[in-house]
Symmetry: C2
Subunit: 227 residues, 2 copies
């Protein structure tokens, strides 16, 4: 158990994974500061979910930082000219957002410096990562090294830690861990194409992985699906 | 000389240093894509300067990406509750923006991926860096390593290069190099407190370093000062 006053910045998307991360960080005794990025997602269901999750998860504060990634384009998630595919396919998917986790962790690092925190939590996962390069353990380690060189705290001898507690867990393991800590997954949204009320499409990669995870965990899926 | 079609992303602030970097990148044969961040600076003189510099410097495209760093606060440059000091002082200055270069390079990396570029140029300088941790060579090298792990191109065997051509140059050397390539420094703004027309305060750290640089280079300073 850490000092109960020790602060951590949690990247919170409003999805299942980051809701679990928030619960794990709280369970480890951190005072949690949740950061969500409004990066030109096609809908705001995810950010509405992040607000609910931050509140239910006992975050000390929740900031939503607007980030116009559509200016640089290149992803089905931020560029309306690219369709989100229903099937999985091979290789790195079009839903990959260029340099997303690098950008998100950099912003979390900035807020951590302001708060005097040296712990960052991120819900990346190398099992279900569908080919995203910035979800691998080597990426997380490289970011940690960068953080120590990039910051005032690092220069002054502090050490940043990037916690990626889900990185080697299956979706079912994540759901079991969160459920044991009382996470209400009904508040979360995973779907790439959820409607404004958070009702999920049921057919995209993200919906499929989520549904399979609940089935494998033997836990009832609270998600509302359109199909 | 590189392939004339080879693309590079240039971080362009509208200041003296990044205007020089754009000229150096063009001189090395790159097709230059300039990226400026609108990160809650107190005025827009700098971004107006970036527009002029991108056009005069022959950039293929210039994007200005809004980035609400004021949401996380912590710097005199983005937080109006903190005064910009006139004198230098010791250690890391209050004008330090938490994790700024990490965030800016991450966004440049994202655009580079979209463009199919693997060269990034940034005008950081370790001589006049006034204690900014993210202007040191070790930081640049760590970012390059991160970029290769963070991206689709890196996964597929490509190699990113972060060029920081000014990193070991004095301000006078920078000004001489840019002048030799025809950079019009009258288009640039360095001042932390320039007015909307780009007229500089003449007393802040940035103005002082700039004026000393022109004097040391033996080149007439085209800056318009209020004092």
């Amino acid at each position: 158990m850490n000092d109960p006053q020790r602060k951590a910045v949690i990247l919170l998307s409003g999805g299942l994974d980051s809701a679990t991360v928030l619960a794990l960080a709280r369970d480890r005794g951190y005072a949690c500061y949740a950061l969500s990025l409004d990066y030109g997602q096609r809908h705001h269901a995810e950010l509405n979910a992040a607000r609910r999750v931050a509140e239910a998860g006992g975050a000390m504060a929740h900031k939503i930082l607007p980030l116009a990634l559509d200016v640089i384009g290149g992803s089905a998630l931020t560029d309306s000219a690219i369709d989100v595919p229903e099937a999985g396919g091979e290789g790195i998917p079009v839903t990959y957002v260029p340099a997303r986790n690098t950008v998100f962790l950099a912003l979390a690092l900035g807020w951590a410096e302001v708060l005097g925190a040296t712990d960052l939590f991120v819900g990346v996962n190398a099992v279900d990562y569908s080919g995203y390069p910035d979800c691998r353990p080597a990426f997380i380690e490289a970011f940690e090294q960068l953080a120590n060189l990039a910051t005032k705290v690092g220069v002054e001898g502090g050490r940043f830690k990037v916690h990626a507690p889900l990185i080697r867990m299956s979706k079912a393991e994540i759901i079991r861990a969160g459920s044991a800590l009382g996470v209400d997954y009904g508040l979360t949204v995973s779907c790439y194409q959820a409607d404004a009320d958070g009702v999920a499409c049921g057919v995209c990669d993200s919906c499929r992985l989520r549904a399979e995870g609940f089935a494998a965990a033997g836990i009832t899926d609270p998600t509302r699906y359109r199909v």
